[in-house]
């Protein structure tokens, strides 16, 4: 594997050419081999793991914004969020909710942030999509964002700029009337195709029993209303947090 430390111009060109002509699977394999989070997932790198199932791994961040800062990492290598299938993203958000509950209950904090940096300008450091769950306390100066008021014209401009693309992605037609007939999600043929065209990859080879309650898939496929599986003892605590708003 060891490459010469410095490449001549010719060698660099040849390497670039090689990368360009590399079959996608090969390129993907190369990407994974160099991905720190793939290494963590495959146990090739030490981490303070909290939880693991077939889809994702939860670990403490090594450069935490606060005590208990968690990373929720899909096992599959997706560089950026648009590559993440809806089902995986939905699952990861449910895991984030469960861990937010755990963090609020056990670490005596007064809030949590879910944070995703998508793209390097947005602060994404590694080429492996992941979700941050950050325990928060008032005045801790984490994600301290200044907000401003924009006028109605600006609001309209944003709507107009984004709506066509959004409706296309949602698989809906633009409504005739602005307000009465809001678009609703229908069967997006587009999404089905997208998912069907790529061979589905297994997320993990080793089966692991989920540590948390049943995965959401099981709950919903049962054709019964999904049930919240968290114990109720934390209710008081969560209500307290919700009540702060009143």
């Amino acid at each position: 594997m060891a490459e010469a430390p410095k490449l001549t111009e010719e060698q660099a060109k040849a390497l670039q050419e090689k990368l360009k002509n590399m079959p996608p699977e090969e390129l993907e394999r190369l990407q994974r081999e160099n991905c720190i989070f793939c290494k963590i997932i495959h146990g090739e790198m030490q981490t303070r793991k909290i939880y693991e199932d077939d889809v994702c791994l939860v670990t403490l961040d090594i450069a935490p914004a606060s005590k208990g800062h968690l990373l929720i990492i899909p096992k599959e290598h997706y560089s950026i969020m648009p590559q993440v299938p809806d089902r995986v993203l939905a699952y990861i958000c449910v895991i984030a909710k469960r861990f937010s509950q755990i963090v609020l209950r056990t670490l005596k904090v007064s809030g949590t942030n879910i944070f995703i940096a998508n793209g390097s300008v947005a602060g994404q450091r590694a080429q492996h999509f992941l979700l941050h769950l950050i325990p928060r306390k008032e005045g801790d100066k984490v994600l301290d964002l200044q907000e401003k008021i924009i006028n109605q014209e600006m609001v309209e401009n944003v709507k107009i700029a984004v709506e066509d693309k959004l409706f296309q992605l949602m698989g809906v037609k633009k409504p005739e009337s602005k307000t009465e007939n809001l678009p609703r999600i229908q069967e997006p043929a587009e999404m089905e195709q997208e998912e069907g065209s790529k061979p589905e990859k297994k997320i993990s080879t080793r089966k692991k029993t989920p540590i948390l309650k049943k995965s959401p898939s099981v709950e919903i496929v049962n054709e019964e209303p999904a049930k919240e599986k968290q114990p109720e003892e934390e209710e008081a605590n969560l209500n307290d947090i919700a009540n702060l708003f009143r």
């Binding site: 303070r48 909290i50 939880y51 889809v55 403490l60 935490p64 914004a65 005590k67 969020m81 648009p82 993440v84 299938p85 809806d86 995986v88 939905a90 449910v94 909710k97 937010s100 755990i102 609020l104 209950r105 670490l107 809030g111 879910i114 944070f115 995703i116 998508n118 793209g119 300008v121 947005a122 602060g123 950050i134 306390k137 994600l143 008021i149 924009i150 006028n151 709507k159 984004v162 066509d164 693309k165 959004l166 992605l169 307000t179 009465e180 809001l182 678009p183 069967e187 297994k202 948390l212 959401p216 898939s217 919903i220 496929v221 049930k227 599986k229 114990p231 969560l238 919700a242 009143r246």
Partner: protein
């Protein structure tokens, strides 16, 4: 006096103002209070103050919408990235008592800074947090199941086409 009467998001829903799109349980809207123009918010139609109260299937809908909005923002506002943010609880900077996901478009040199200074923690502090969280996960696995009471209207309707694709995609979770 109703709790939802003072809620900015419930107000948006009631007035049907500045709404971009909606699904059966969630709404995509443009707020006038933003970190940067182009910011878009996704929230459940039902008034849930914090994430822990949002039923899982509603949260999943919000997440799927967030991904679509993020892609739409990428392509139509010529942004080079997005930040996805949930401020959950007062301590986390939540200013509307109604759960929501914010999609913030990013550009080179936009002056925004979401970076944090890594907290220097002592080895034993890290060890303690690790143990505490591991124990909490273990506890949540071994505690007896309790079924939460749910409103009938929030049941997933299997028959309706518009729900089906969500279910189908969820079923594919291994």
């Amino acid at each position: 006096m109703n709790l939802t009467s003072q809620c900015e998001y419930c107000e948006i829903l009631r007035k049907e103002k500045n709404i971009l799109a909606s699904s059966s349980d969630a709404v995509v809207a443009v707020r006038d209070k933003v970190v940067t123009p182009g910011q878009i918010t996704i929230f459940p139609k039902e008034h849930y103050p914090i994430m822990e109260m949002v039923p899982e299937e509603v949260l999943q809908q919000c997440a799927i919408l967030a991904n679509k909005v993020s892609i739409a923002v990428f392509e139509s506002l010529s942004s080079q990235g997005t930040n996805i943010l949930v401020r959950n609880g007062l301590g986390a900077g939540q200013d509307v008592a109604h759960f929501g996901i914010e999609i913030i478009p990013r550009k080179e040199g936009d002056g925004l800074n979401f970076d944090w200074k890594p907290r220097q923690l002592m080895e034993d502090e890290i060890e303690m947090v690790h143990t505490t969280l591991l124990e909490a996960v273990e506890e949540s696995r071994s505690s007896p199941k309790k079924e939460e009471k749910r409103d009938d209207k929030k049941e997933i309707k299997i028959v309706e086409g518009k729900e089906n694709y969500l279910l189908k995609s969820i079923k594919r979770i291994p």
